[in-house]
C-alpha cells in the first residue's frame, strides 16, 4: 500500500532578551550552574512573576513576520506537570489565547516548486532547566540557569509531506527569526529546536493516522534523519498489520536511531488554567502597527532585490537569503570587492561546502567578509587565477592568514608577462607537433592538452587567457 506522510512541527526558539521572562536574571548562555537564578525562576513559594515587556514585543514581531494575526486580548496559563527541570511543577505557557494565530509562508523546494506551510499559532512560555548526570553519586544534578529563559513556540499546521519540506520549513523560519533579531537561533546551543509530529495514512484517506512526537531535534541533519527513520519505522509496523502507538520519542543522532521515551500515563492531562499571578495582555492597534512598520527587511524582500538589482539566479538568491548571517556576509563582501556575482558563486560552492563539512553556522565562518573580498579582488585584478584562488581559499582557512600574505609567501602571483609566456608556448608547441596536426584535423582536445602543458611548465601560475590566445595564434 502507498502511504502519505503527514508532518507538523513545533519549533521552540529562545528569545534574545537580556533577562528571563518573569525575573531580572540574565539569559546569558553558560555561567556556573545556578548562578543566573533567583526565587522567581527557581519557583520558590510566594515569589511573584512579572512579565518582561520585550517578550511580548518579540513574539508579536515574529507573528507579524510570518503573516499571523495578533490577538488583541491574550493571557497566560499554567500547564501542570511534574518534571525535575521545572521547579514550580508547572510551566507558564498560553492555552486558548496565544499572542499570534493563523500565519504561514511559502517554502521553496529543490525542484523549484513552492508550497505554503500554515502556522497555527505562536505563544510565549518559559524554558526549563537542565538535568546533568552526576558521575560522582550516580544521581542527577539540576541547573536552573536556563529555567525561565523566554521561548516562543511556533506550531505549524500538519502541512508537510517529507523530510525535505520539513527541513525547508525550519530553514526558512530560522532565517525569518534571525532577520527580525528576536532569537539567535543557534541550534547547537539549543536556542532553536523542533518537535516533529509524524503520522502515515493510506494515500487518499482523509483521517490522519496515529502520530508520534519526536522531541528536541537540534540540527537540520537530525530532523532529516529522524523523519526518514520514523517514516520507515511506521511503514514497517503498518505493513505488517500492526498499529502505531501514540508516544513521545527521542532521537539519537549519534546512533541514527529513535527511541520511545518512557510513556507517562495521563501525559496529556496538563489541567491548564489561567495563570492567576499574571494579568492579561491587551494590545492596541497602535502598538501592533508600530512594530509592523519597524520590521526589518525580510528574506523574501532581500531575495527579490538580489534577483532584480544584482541579477543573481533565483535559486542562489533563495539560498543566500535563507540565512541572515550568510546574506550579511554576501552583502559586505560584495560591497568590498564590487563583484556580487563572484561572491555569490563562491558562496554557492565553496563556502556552503566548508560550512557543511565543519558543521558551523554562517555566523562563525573561519574568515571575515572583508578577508574573503580580498581574495576576489586578487582574482579580479588578474594577480592570481581562479584555480590558484581555490588553493588560496583553502590555505586562508587552514592558516588563518590574509590572502595577499599567502600569495606572497608561496609565490603564487599569476604570470601575465606575455614574453615570458610566449617563451613557454613556443617551447611546448615545438615539442608537440602532432597536437597541431590533430587540432587542425578537428580534434579540439589537442588545444586543452597544449594549454595544460604550458600551465604545467608555468606551475599553474600562467594567465590562462594569454596562454590560450598565444596558442590559438599557432593553430590558425
Amino acid at each position: 500500500m502507498e502511504y502519505e506522510v503527514v508532518i507538523g512541527l513545533e519549533v521552540h526558539a529562545e528569545l534574545s532578551t537580556k533577562t528571563k521572562i518573569y525575573c531580572g536574571c540574565t539569559t546569558e548562555f553558560g555561567g556556573d550552574p545556578n548562578t543566573h537564578c533567583c526565587p522567581i525562576c527557581t519557583g520558590m513559594p510566594g515569589a511573584l512573576p512579572v512579565l518582561n515587556e520585550k517578550v511580548v514585543e518579540y513574539a508579536v514581531k515574529a507573528g507579524l513576520a510570518v503573516g499571523a494575526q495578533i490577538n488583541r486580548n491574550s493571557k497566560q496559563d499554567r500547564k501542570n506537570y511534574f518534571y525535575p527541570d521545572t521547579p514550580r511543577a508547572y510551566q507558564i505557557s498560553q492555552f486558548d489565547l496565544p499572542l499570534c494565530i493563523n500565519g504561514g509562508f511559502d517554502i521553496t523546494l529543490k525542484d523549484g516548486t513552492t508550497k505554503r506551510i500554515g502556522i497555527t499559532r505562536i505563544h510565549i512560555e518559559d524554558d526549563a532547566g537542565k538535568l546533568v548526570h552526576d558521575t560522582y553519586t550516580g544521581g542527577t544534578l539540576v541547573d536552573l540557569n536556563r529555567a525561565g529563559v523566554p521561548l516562543i513556540e511556533i506550531v505549524s499546521e500538519p502541512d508537510m509531506r517529507s523530510a525535505e519540506e520539513a527541513v525547508a520549513y525550519v530553514e526558512k523560519l530560522k532565517g525569518i527569526l534571525e532577520y527580525i533579531g528576536v532569537s539567535d537561533c543557534k541550534m547547537q546551543e539549543g536556542s532553536l529546536r523542533a518537535d516533529v509530529n509524524l503520522s502515515l495514512r493510506p494515500v487518499g484517506q482523509k483521517e490522519f493516522g496515529t502520530r508520534t512526537e519526536s522531541k528536541n531535534l537540534n540540527s537540520f541533519r537530525a530532523i532529516e534523519h529522524m523523519i526518514n527513520f520514523e517514516i520507515q519505522r511506521q511503514k514497517e509496523i503498518l505493513e505488517s498489520g500492526g498499529k502505531v502507538i501514540q508516544e513521545t520519542r527521542r532521537w539519537d543522532e549519534a546512533t541514527g536511531e529513535g527511541y520511545a521515551m518512557r510513556s507517562k500515563e495521563d501525559a496529556d492531562d496538563y489541567r491548564y488554567f489561567p495563570e492567576p499571578d499574571l494579568m492579561p495582555i491587551k494590545l492596541s492597534d497602535d502598538y501592533i502597527n508600530n512594530i509592523k512598520e519597524n520590521l526589518p527587511e525580510l528574506p523574501e524582500r532581500r531575495k527579490a532585490r538580489y534577483i532584480e538589482e544584482l541579477k543573481l539566479p533565483e535559486y542562489d538568491a533563495g539560498i543566500i537569503t535563507s540565512s541572515k548571517a550568510l546574506s550579511d556576509f554576501f552583502e559586505e563582501a560584495s560591497k568590498e570587492c564590487g563583484n556580487p556575482k563572484a561572491v555569490s558563486n563562491w558562496i554557492m560552492t565553496d563556502i556552503i561546502r566548508i560550512a557543511r563539512e565543519n558543521d558551523i553556522d554562517y555566523s562563525d565562518l573561519p574568515f571575515s567578509a572583508k578577508r574573503f573580498a580580498s581574495l576576489i579582488k586578487l582574482i579580479d585584478s588578474g594577480s592570481i587565477s581562479n584555480t590558484i584562488g581555490k588553493k588560496v581559499f583553502e590555505d586562508m582557512i587552514s592558516e588563518n592568514k590574509e590572502p595577499e600574505e599567502i600569495v606572497k609567501e608561496k609565490g603564487l602571483l599569476q604570470i601575465s608577462d606575455e614574453s615570458a609566456i610566449k617563451e613557454v608556448v613556443d617551447r611546448v608547441v615545438a615539442a608537440n607537433p602532432q597536437s597541431i596536426v590533430d587540432y587542425k584535423a578537428g580534434k579540439d582536445r589537442a588545444l586543452g592538452f597544449l594549454v595544460g602543458q604550458c600551465m604545467k611548465e608555468l606551475k599553474g601560475k600562467g594567465n590562462p587567457q594569454i596562454i590560450n590566445r598565444l596558442i590559438m595564434e599557432y593553430l590558425k
Binding site: 518582561n52 525535575p84 544534578l141 492579561p280 495582555i281
Partner: protein
C-alpha cells in the same frame, strides 16, 4: 457532577500522591461537596458580561528588560533537601 473514585485516583496519580483505599473514599466525598459548593457560582446571571479569566480589572503588568543581580547560590541551595553546593541533587532521572 459526580466525583468517582476513579477521578480521585487519576488526580492523585497526576499529583504523585499515594492514597489508601479509605483516603480515596474520603476525598471523593469531600471533593463532591467542594464542587457542589463552587457550582453555586453557576447560578449567577452573567448575560451581557464580557468573558474574563480574572476578577481584577488589571492588565499589561510588565517589567522592563533590565538585568538585575541574581540570587546568592548558597542561599538558593539552602532551600533544597539535597545539594552539592553548586547544583540541586535529585535521584537519578532516566528518560
Amino acid at each position: 457532577m459526580e466525583i468517582t473514585k476513579k477521578d480521585i485516583e487519576h488526580i492523585a496519580n497526576l499529583s504523585m500522591l499515594n492514597l489508601s483505599e479509605d483516603e480515596v473514599d474520603g476525598y471523593a466525598k469531600d471533593m463532591q461537596e467542594i464542587i457542589a459548593f463552587a457550582n453555586q457560582i453557576n447560578e449567577i446571571n452573567t448575560d451581557g458580561l464580557e468573558e474574563s479569566a480574572f476578577a481584577l480589572d488589571s492588565y499589561n503588568v510588565f517589567r522592563k528588560d533590565e538585568v538585575r543581580e541574581s540570587f546568592d547560590r548558597e542561599l538558593l541551595m539552602q532551600n533544597a533537601p539535597s545539594s552539592n553546593g553548586v547544583a540541586y541533587q535529585i535521584p537519578p532521572v532516566i528518560e
